[in-house]
Symmetry: C2
DNA sequence: CTAGACATGTAACGCGTTACATGATTAT
DNA sequence: ATAATCATGTAACGCGTTACATGTCTAG
């Protein structure tokens, strides 16, 4: 299995929702909060080509009226497999420290492609790692605050708060899934 | 003035605190919450070489005992200028949406290199931009929540909460600077 | 005496950025 | 007519990742 970039996974996730063209993907990255990803053609089109070359998507040329070409991509079974494997792999402390953005991306498509049980597992793992990491940050802050300039200390404080908010989010999200289960919806 | 990468600015900021070697920088990135940056030699040493080539730092070979070489870098006047210019440039909505990590890095060295007045200006600007952006996120969430799968909605919720927490942080940091001014310390 | 920390580099590779290029269709 | 949107691409460039290479010094 070949390597897929973060942008590649973002695109692959969008293609799981419905078949889309490169331009469709660009519009989503340009106009929605998924806009943390680049909407430049120089990123999207090569990414789609790589995914196709590796057999994770296949494309069809759609000539709706006459000559307005539009290449529409959809995931292949192999593409669905690698996407699901990426989503459901275990969460390491490294992921939490260095790749929080990737974790959120993995989660954002979870229901549609891996199911609610996977979402719950993910949130449980994430909560566990965040519960481990946030005290370490606070401890570092407490140990070094006195000798740091105010701006440095506050920047650290911002990081600590971010992770603490993430932990609250993770817990509250988990309880939302639990309520749904109990309620019998979904 | 040549382009400096984010890693370049992070390194340059650390060199403002005290002269350091590439290995010193690596240790900081490896062992502190500044570890969002790469501590790999393949990133640090070329970055230092670029900074030197562009005249933003200069290095001296330190042969403490006899043959254990150690190349120590410090910023040049030109390096101090570009760093300060980068730190104090105005904050755009684009910065807040796509480059929050860069903004935090700019702020973290603010006291030492641009002064408290610059820190206050920065926080005021940031607060303004965050006050503008967070409602837009909430609005998008409210408009799309019903038709989204739970995981997608929650991922968005996480983003909204992050920015809201950042806004609270920005305000409370500002008031800390104000208190310090009034108290007459610093 | 040897494992681990100290210390600095290089080379291949992948991929995102920026800029350029081209052309069809729709709305003003 | 002509600006904006739809739509897809390519090429040069910069830089971070990964892996390799090399040698010193210190602690057990």
């Amino acid at each position: 299995m070949r390597h897929v970039s973060l942008l590649g996974y973002a695109v692959l996730g969008l293609l799981h929702q419905e078949p889309r063209s490169g331009y469709d993907v660009r519009r989503i990255f340009a106009n929605t909060p998924m806009g943390t990803f680049s909407d430049s053609p120089g990123a999207i089109y090569p990414a789609l080509q790589r995914l196709e070359k590796d057999g994770f998507v296949r494309s069809k040329l759609q000539s709706v009226s006459d000559l307005r070409r539009r290449r529409v991509y959809r995931p292949t079974p192999s593409g669905r497999r690698v996407f699901r494997a990426w989503q459901t792999k275990s969460i390491s402390s490294e992921d939490v420290i260095h790749r929080m953005d990737e974790l959120l991306l993995r989660f954002s498509f979870m229901d549609q492609t891996a199911g609610q049980a996977a979402a719950v597992r993910f949130l449980r793992d994430l909560t566990r790692e965040l519960r481990r990491y946030t005290p370490a940050l606070r401890k570092y802050l407490k140990a070094n605050a006195r000798q740091m300039p105010l701006s440095g200390m506050l920047a650290l404080e911002s990081g600590a708060r971010s992770y603490e908010e993430l932990l609250r989010w993770s817990k509250s999200s988990l309880s939302k899934y639990m309520r749904r289960k109990k309620g019998g919806r979904g």
